[in-house]
């Protein structure tokens, strides 16, 4: 695999290629920091980190245009960052500050920026799938050209929501792309035990639209496949289900003691690190030098540090805030 294959996606430029690299690094570093801060007790609640899955979010969002929408999940930091969210406001949200995306009312599982098209993370597994279909319905009914990308995990495909929503997307031929991040487990449950099929993308057959399984740790494959699906959607040719095989390096959340999988397995997947693989691709294409890597890493580091400072300096809500924002005027 080399960068030449990227010609399939015409809008790609060298700048974009580097930007994706930077984004993946930013996601990884953001998540590492969140993990640290959480363990230090500086972040409340719980977190679901996407370390190891950076290529799915970045590759998918790379092909989106301004106005395109996403829906996300409990494991949503990467999606938000890839969609262009400010990590300052994300971090502020995790710190429960009024400058956060949700003014501290949502936290990690509800980061959203509806105006920019980020329809939100979601604490309900598969809960955002029908929302994505609804957003796509708006596009169709209002004659708008945006596409909605719907992220969810392998576990989510066993929810009734998944079934009902994908069927409606199909019969109405809506401009939506379903991105299933198959990281092999829903919490502790292996996808192999929770379904009796080889590829989750097979499920698209039940609704009558294309489904495909790809290597979700191969950024280029993610970009190309999503590009095709987004193009189909925008052309009015209906939905696609893309299963992206990947792996979560960290525990499911704070309560995970990792008993359901082996270290060997985890290590094997770490060998397939999407960032290092992409680094190699860029290196081979002579787009990335060791110096450049260092430069980008420094930038990312200071960006994340700045976000933490921003969050720390931001005001906390006052108890009286609790009762506002329930009803719209």
């Amino acid at each position: 695999m080399d960068v030449q294959t990227l010609t399939k996606f015409p809008q790609i430029t060298n700048e974009k290629l580097l930007q994706m690299y930077e984004q993946m690094l930013l996601i990884r570093r953001f998540e590492e920091k969140v993990d640290e801060l959480f363990k230090q007790g500086l972040i409340y609640g719980t977190t679901h980190l996407c370390i190891g899955q950076e290529a799915t979010a970045v590759g998918t969002c790379a092909v989106l245009q301004a106005g395109d929408k996403i829906t996300s999940t409990h494991r949503g930091h990467g999606h938000s960052i890839a969609h262009g969210a400010s990590i300052d406001r994300m971090m502020a949200e995790l710190f429960g500050r009024t400058t956060g995306y949700c003014k501290g009312k949502g936290g990690s599982m509800h980061i959203a920026d509806v105006e920019s098209g980020n329809l939100g993370a979601n604490g309900i597994v598969a809960g955002s799938i029908p929302l994505a279909v609804g957003a796509a319905l708006t596009a169709k009914m209002q004659g708008l050209s945006y596409v909605t990308v719907c992220f969810f995990g392998d576990g989510a495909t066993n929810e009734g929501s998944f079934h009902e929503a994908l069927n409606m997307a199909s019969i109405w031929q809506l401009p939506v792309v379903f991105v299933c991040e198959n990281n092999q487990y829903g919490m502790s449950s292996s996808v192999k035990e929770m379904t009796n099929i080889k590829h989750l993308s097979t499920r698209a057959k039940a609704y009558g639209f294309p489904g495909v399984t790809i290597d979700g740790n191969d950024l280029i494959q993610v970009v190309e496949t999503t590009h095709e699906a987004v193009t189909r959607a925008r052309a009015g040719q209906g939905p696609t289900l893309i299963e992206m095989e990947t792996y979560r390096w960290m525990g499911h959340s704070k309560s995970d003691r990792g008993k359901y999988r082996t270290e060997t397995e985890v290590n094997a997947w770490k060998e397939r690190d999407p960032i290092r693989r992409y680094e190699q691709v860029l290196h081979d294409a002579e787009l990335l030098s060791a110096d450049k890597i260092e430069e980008i890493k420094q930038m990312v580091e200071s960006h994340v540090q700045a976000a933490i400072e921003y969050a720390e300096k931001s005001p906390k809500p006052v108890p009286e805030d609790v009762i506002s924002d329930v009803y719209a005027p």
Binding site: K69, T71, G100, Y101, C102, K103, G104, K105, G106, H110, A112, D113, V114, E115, L119, G120, N122, G123, I124, G127, I129, P130, L131, A132, V133, G134, A135, A136, L137, T138, A139, M141, Q142, G160, S161, H163, E164, A165, N167, M168, I171, S324, D325, V326, Y327, A328, P329
Partner: protein, 331 residues
Amino acid sequence: MTNERIITYLEAVREAMVQEMRQNENVFLLGEDIGIYGGAFGVTEGMIAEFGPERIRNTPISELGMAGVAVGAALTGMRPIVDYQFSDFLTIGMDQIVNQAAKVRYMYGGKAEVPLVIRTPSGAGTGAAAQHSQSLEAWMAHIPGLKVVQPATAYDAKGLLKAAINDNNPVIFYEHKLLYKTSSQVPEKLYEIPLGKADVKREGHDLTIIATAIMVHRALEAASILAKEGIDVEIIDPRTLVPLDEATILQSVAKTGRALIVHEAVKRGGYGGEIASIIGEKAFHHLQAPIKRLGALPTPVPYSEILERAAIPQVDDIVKEARSLIKYEVS
């Protein structure tokens, strides 16, 4: 004169939708068999002819997805009205209604709106048995972020539905099956009854009956019977449970000193408990008798007509309860 026009509750509901849809492109309907079939009770009859299948959108039998799709559409600028064939089926959509629709705005720090109406027939009296006869409005009223409407007359139905459609929040709009064919005077011109304003359906001095939906009519019948015995009943129809017009209720109880709450929902855990508690707390010193509640017995709704009647408050039950309240003397 249009002011004297009499139409049914069913027609009033339809008219509000039709008139709103004519003036707002973003309002559309989503539900099972609402197209050519006209909906399970005929409410949407003929609408597809005017608005076409895009805006009168038949869905698969997918009550959870249907709600979720509506939330997604509402979040992105549409104003969906979701039609559930029976309110019992909202149980299937609860996750989307409660965990998404009701909370999205708050979870997103006030930076989202979900202008969504869920219309659905509730109540017993048709022999449809336990899974097609429930009145679960108390659930909805318990959920911050939702509004809850229960019109009792054609006039109220039209005005409240307009308000619901124009509201920027998710509103659960309960239509009572047995009221569909009842009629009242309904102006042709679109008008709005604000959510949160109770209606005094009858003025009286001896006893306040707070009744909802079909129980408003049973209470009115009971009041006629009681009037002959010299008992003068005031009947308050809250019309919306959320927001609740506490002031009107409390004013009435301040005057009568006696309160009876009647709803069709099961008494245990019904919204009558909320209303009674508010009265008990805020009109304590006015009370000349204990606050009483009438609601369905703690049983699923049975099929047999005899049993079905026995499960749900009837005019007689109201009359009896009212008499005993009037007789009550503080010892």
